[in-house]
Symmetry: C2
Subunit: 199 residues, 2 copies
Amino acid sequence: MTSTADAPRSPGRPRSIRADEAIIEATLDLLAEGSTIEALSIEAIATRAGVGKATIYRRWAGKDALLLDALRRLKGVLAQPAGHSVRDDLVLLVGAIGKNVDPRAAKIMPCLAPAVNRSADQFQLYQSIISPRRQLMREVLRRGIDEGVLRADIDVEVTMALLTGPMLIQRVLQWNPDLDEQSLPERVVDAVLEGIRTR
Amino acid sequence: MTSTADAPRSPGRPRSIRADEAIIEATLDLLAEGSTIEALSIEAIATRAGVGKATIYRRWAGKDALLLDALRRLKGVLAQPAGHSVRDDLVLLVGAIGKNVDPRAAKIMPCLAPAVNRSADQFQLYQSIISPRRQLMREVLRRGIDEGVLRADIDVEVTMALLTGPMLIQRVLQWNPDLDEQSLPERVVDAVLEGIRTR
DNA sequence: ACGTTACGAGTCTGACCCGTATCGTATTTC
DNA sequence: GAAATACGATACGGGTCAGACTCGTAACGT
């Protein structure tokens, strides 16, 4: 016989996995199409997903809970530095900033900026996404110090901000429309490595 | 007699300047208190300003037009570099990023990130605010090159992103909560000046 | 005095939305 | 086949808001 712990299966029709998917996808689609977080309505999501509202409320407590789950899908995979050259690893990591597997992510990211500072939940989600990436860069910098490629007296945290900031304001805020995004990672890394002062 | 061009004065009660002020102020207050751009309603603004809704519609076509006018007030004044030391001037300019005269600006800025990429009007407003500041920094960097303090082969535009980015992600996105904002301008400028590579 | 325009306050219609409930139907276990 | 649960659809009451409108009043020119 099946053990009791093995089959806590409830009777009745099981929840549709396709509905789960459709709801999440509809949410991300709508966000990517330009809807802002609070303009997003459960009704719109339900319609877009081809699903009844009740089906959404059966799974999530409200819009916030749904959004949290939906945004988790966007995380994407971490870039994997090769480990040969510190400079090349940094270029790889800087180039990966704001570049997710899901093309919708680029459109959605700017929307999170306001939310991050108003909701503790979303701040935590945001930090949980970026902190592993920060850790990756931190390790490369530490390796650079150990190998003697980077000075030992640099502030690693400030250096990470130095490398990340320019890329982020360009990708998320379109800070300077004339700046070439393609070559930016290389140029940022090299500038930070060499400094700009005459010697 | 008064010349025709001199007195295009219309009859009737003139518009109240105090109402103009009150409406703009109420808008900025509500934004600074945490309301997001689209959660902001004309009704709320009218109530807060102690003004009838019609008084607002008489002046602006809608929420967008009002917002554009209101945000223009936040520009603040440009920091004035002393012109003695390039390093000190850069510290001043970097420290001024995201620091406006109006304390409400700091709370409002993150809300603009999504809007900037969706409305051409707001993108232009955003650029019109930051481009004179960019120009200021550009001039300091050029002076540095002329004086021989900075290398002649640096890319000035990339360098500006290098200096601005870290400060902006910290002030607007709270990128790394552990980073000390107070000392950041100095540390960013010095790091960019010296580079992080061993020599 | 009189016409004109603005004022604050309020009303009204038509949207849109939330969250819940209720349909008839479909899918599962026992 | 019966009980249980899910499904999409739709209806509901309660809420907010946009915009246009209406009051009675206030401020300005002639």
